[in-house]
Every structure is written in structure tokens, then in C-alpha cells.
Amino acid sequence: MAGDRIPIALGAAALLILVATPGLLSPFLVQFLINLFMLAALAESWNIIGGFTGYASFGNVAFFGVGAYATGVLLTTAELPFALALAAGGIAAAVFAALVGMPILRLKGHYFAIATLGVAETTREIVYNLRITGGGTGLTMPISRSPLPFYYLMLSILLATTLVNWWLSSSRFGYGLIAIREDEDAAAAMGINTPLYKTIAFSVSGGLAGLVGGVFAYWITFIDPEGVFKVSTTIQMIIMAVFGGAGTVAGPLLGALVLSSVSEFLSTQLVSLAELVNGLIVILVVLFMPRGLAEMIRKRQFSLRDFARNFREYRV
């Protein structure tokens, strides 16, 4: 793994800088970074089920939302200390993902994608109708004045999700997931307990997303069903992972870094066009770099001919 040494060194250096400097940065930059860590962590969490296992879930925001609400409700109604509420949020999301995953992971391809979408939508509607979640009015958390704890928390979760991905890339369990992605029947024939593997992957993916949700709830101080169960959140996760390179370790991180910077720039400069450009980005990424930036960097394929190669493979 000699080729990995430089990226690892870069990563470690970046990490050191990020850990040491928040106090020196402007509040706006701190906000931007917290948001970045959040999106990167979500993209990495999606990568586990979507990238490694090949089960493209279009409903992972459901777990983000469940984590947010579980933490939120425990924080406000039960008045638990945040650490406990957050842990409970992550666990709730993981359990929810496992329960939902068991029947749904039996489906393949489009059916699975639509089912996950349906789960996300149904969960949102249920949350809308419950009294304890505040329904359409949402939940307001107690005010926390300093963003620094959230900065470190999000960074830690990002670290955790990236490490999980890294572990997957070189562990037997991870190879099992990749085998499932490449040829599920063959994997089963080789003795891999595919339903168990898939459910674990889904559950871990969901649990991590839930942790992100819990921190998000406290950080943003207000959550409502529309905000934490957005389909576009899942799309963001997916496109960042795809853009960076689904199934790789650094891919989702890269994708999150580039795309959220672009998005941030747009939302302040060209306010009304921001979403439009986001949509165009999605189209362009799928057309020209579906295998992601990481792959392009690894193979050093930056020329136009390389971009067009995808067409020959994918067109009618």
C-alpha cells in the first residue's frame, strides 16, 4: 500500500490543522466547516451501503432524521444530558435501520431504491403526525452559545465514519460486502451470509447517519419534519459519494469538500440559481464522471477522451 502513504500523510496533516485551529477561524468559517464535516460524514455513511455493498439506498435521510428526532425529543422532553441523548439517537437509528433493512434488503435494484425512498417518506409522515415530536411545528432545543463543541463532535463523527470505511476496505467483512456488490449469488455460494452482512452494513450506515442527525439537531437548535427528512439530503449524500468515488475511502470526503464549497459559493452569490446549478452538477457528474474523482486521480484520467469513455459503455 505504498501508494497510500501520501494521501494518509496529507489526511493526517489536514486533521491536525483542523483540530488545532478552530479558535482562530472566523465564526462563519467554523459554521462552514461544521456543515462540511456533516455532509462528508453522511456521504461516508452512505458509502457503506451504497458504495461498498452496492445497494443504492435513496432513503438514508430517514436515519438521519430518526437520529435527529430521537436525540431532540430526549433532550427536550426527557431532559437528558446531551451525551446520553446523542448516543440514544445513534442507537435508535441503527436499530431502525436494522428493522427496516431486514425485509427491504431482500429487494434488488430499483425496487430497493424505491422502497428506501418510501421508508423515508413514510417516516416523515409519521413524525408529522406524532404529538411527541411536535408535529409540523417542530422541536426547539435549548440554546448553546459556542459552536466549538459541535465542531469537534462533527469532526469526530467524520473521523469515525471514515475509519469505518477504511476498515471495510481491508477487512474480511468489507471484502464480503464488495463480493455482494459484484455478484451476490456467487458471494452466497461462497458461504457469505448475505442477509446478515447486508443488514449489518445497512444498520451501521444508518446508525452513523443517526449520530450526525443528533448532533445536527442540537447544533441547528431547531428541527422539523421537512428539514430532517428531505429527499435532497439523500441525493446530496449520494452525489458527493459518487462524485468523489463511491466504494473508495476518500471519495465521499473529496466529493463533499468540492461540492459543498461550490454550493456554498453559489448560495451567496447567485442565490436564485444555486439549486439550478446543483441540478446541472448532478447531471454532469453522472454523465462524465460516474466513477468519481478518486478513480480519475488514481488512474490519472483527466483528458476529454477519458470523460467520453463513459458514453461508450453506458449508452444505448
Partner: protein, 286 residues
């Protein structure tokens, strides 16, 4: 009596749901493309009907053929020059790209026509008649009839014309279709065009009953999913049956459970159907 009213309401709306899902079911069944931009196509059809009504006074029912034609061309071009490029890519990529198309279409509509609510209201908009205490708005009845007529026409095209044959052949056995000289790229584009045309018709009809905004499509795409899956993907009759079932289910849920439940029920139904009977009510097994 309330029961009958609820049933009637459900059936009338169900016809509209059916035709909405028909377009999606066709595209999904033939090309295995899940068109997340389906709602945006419906929205486009609605706006077309609105503008022809507002600018030139065309009656919304009479302008339907025009809406259908325009959306057909639009769909053809979209498929031929964009979607055909990634047709054989992994499934979730096609899903992703149609998401992108949806965002672009919705935002272009927002920029061009603003988020203001539009409504098509011809003079006969609120006219209704009563039969034994059941009130039926004329427009809803005519919309329902229109959906039935269009569905039958569409089914005829699919079953009886050479084009329909080509479409069905391409969907069932792509390689064989190619070998017999069927221009697949063209057939795909025509299929998408047809799906878009149906969506456009649905939009035109929807626009007569409900306000039109650039973001109206999102919920309709999801509803179309539910109906298409409920009825059985790829089966056209399934879409219509699914639509009626959903329409009635929603009507009853809204009335007897409470107005905030229909969405939860529809999506819950989607998930349950996918788990227990993914081929839907009318779909073939396997």
C-alpha cells in the same frame, strides 16, 4: 350517504392518479428507467395548459392534444440526446440523473414563471350536479372521462400498432429487437416521449382541479410510484387499477382517519407492497 360520496370522490380522483402513473409505468417497464422527473413533466403539462388558457383563451380540454404533442417532443428529445447516453449504466445512476433533470426543470420553471400560484379556471370550473345527495363537480367527471379515454387510446396504440409492437419487443428482448432491425435508440425515445405525453395530459387535467406551481411535481412523482408499484410495474392496466385503488384508499383515510393520514398511508402501502408483493396487484410473478 357520506360513504357513497367518499367512494365517488375516490374514484374520480383515482382516474387521474391512474393516468399519472401510466407514463411512469411505461418508461419503467420498457427501459428500466425510473423517471424521478416524472412530476416535473406533469408540471410542464399543467403550465402549458395554463398559458394557452390565459394567453389565448383555449379551453383546457381542447388544448390537451397540443399539450400532449409538445410533451411528446420534449420527452423524445430528452431521451434521445440525454438519457440514451446512460441507459445501460447502473440503475442508481439513471435514478440520480433523472433527479438532476427534475431539479433543473423545476428551477427553470421557477425562474421563468415565478412561484406564484396559477390556476386554470374556465367558467364551468365549479359547476356541479347532485344525484341523491351526492354532489359531483362536472370538471371532475369530465377529467375522469378524459383519463379513461386517453388510457384506452394509449392501450390501443401499444397493442394494435406497429409502433406499439416495436416498443413491446424492445422491452422484452433487447438483443433480438436489435437484430430484427428495430432502431432501439429511436424506439426508446418514442417510448419516453409517450410517457412524457401521458404525464403532460395528466398535468393538463390536474391543472384544472388544483393550483399550479413549479414545485407541484415532487409529491406527484411519489404518488405515481405508489400507483405504478401498487398496480404492477410494466402493466398498463395495473396503473389504472392502482390509481383507482389509491384514490379510494386516500379518500377513505382522509375522511375516517383524519386529513393528515393519507400520505402516511400511501407511502406505507408502497413499502408494504414492495415487501410482500413487489409485482403489485396485476403484475406477473417473476
Amino acid at each position: 350517504m357520506l360513504l357513497t360520496q367518499v367512494l365517488v370522490n375516490g374514484i374520480l380522483l383515482g382516474g387521474l392518479y391512474g393516468i399519472m402513473a401510466l407514463g411512469m409505468s411505461l418508461i419503467w417497464g420498457v427501459m428500466n428507467i425510473v423517471n424521478v422527473a416524472h412530476g416535473a413533466l406533469i408540471m410542464l403539462g399543467a403550465y402549458l395548459t395554463f398559458w394557452t388558457f390565459t394567453l389565448w383563451g383555449w379551453d383546457p380540454f381542447l388544448s390537451l392534444p397540443v399539450t400532449i404533442g409538445v410533451l411528446f417532443v420534449y420527452g423524445y428529445v430528452l431521451q434521445r440526446f440525454l438519457l440514451n447516453l446512460i441507459v445501460r449504466a447502473q440503475l442508481f445512476l439513471t435514478l440520480l440523473i433523472t433527479f438532476g433533470v427534475e431539479v433543473v426543470m423545476v428551477n427553470l420553471a421557477r425562474i421563468a414563471w415565478s412561484s406564484d400560484l396559477r390556476q386554470v379556471s374556465p367558467d364551468y370550473a365549479a359547476a356541479n350536479f347532485s344525484v341523491r345527495g351526492i354532489t359531483v363537480p362536472y370538471v371532475r367527471l369530465w377529467v375522469f372521462c378524459a383519463t379513461m379515454v386517453l388510457s384506452v387510446l394509449f392501450l390501443l396504440v401499444l397493442e394494435k400498432t406497429r409502433l406499439g409492437l416495436a416498443i413491446r419487443a424492445t422491452s422484452e428482448e433487447l438483443r433480438a429487437a436489435r437484430l430484427t432491425g428495430i432502431p432501439v435508440a429511436h424506439v426508446y425515445a418514442v417510448t419516453f416521449g409517450l410517457g412524457a405525453a401521458l404525464a403532460g395530459a395528466a398535468g393538463g387535467l390536474w391543472g384544472m382541479l388544483f393550483p399550479i406551481t413549479p414545485v407541484m411535481g415532487g409529491a406527484l412523482t411519489l404518488k405515481s410510484f405508489v400507483v405504478a408499484v401498487l398496480g404492477g410495474l410494466g402493466t398498463m392496466m395495473g396503473a389504472i387499477v392502482g390509481g383507482l385503488v389509491l384514490g379510494i384508499a386516500e379518500s377513505f383515510t382522509a375522511t375516517y382517519l383524519g386529513p393528515t393520514y393519507p400520505n402516511a398511508i400511501s407511502f406505507g402501502l408502497l413499502v408494504l407492497i414492495l415487501i410482500f408483493r413487489p409485482t403489485g396487484l396485476l403484475g406477473r410473478r417473476g
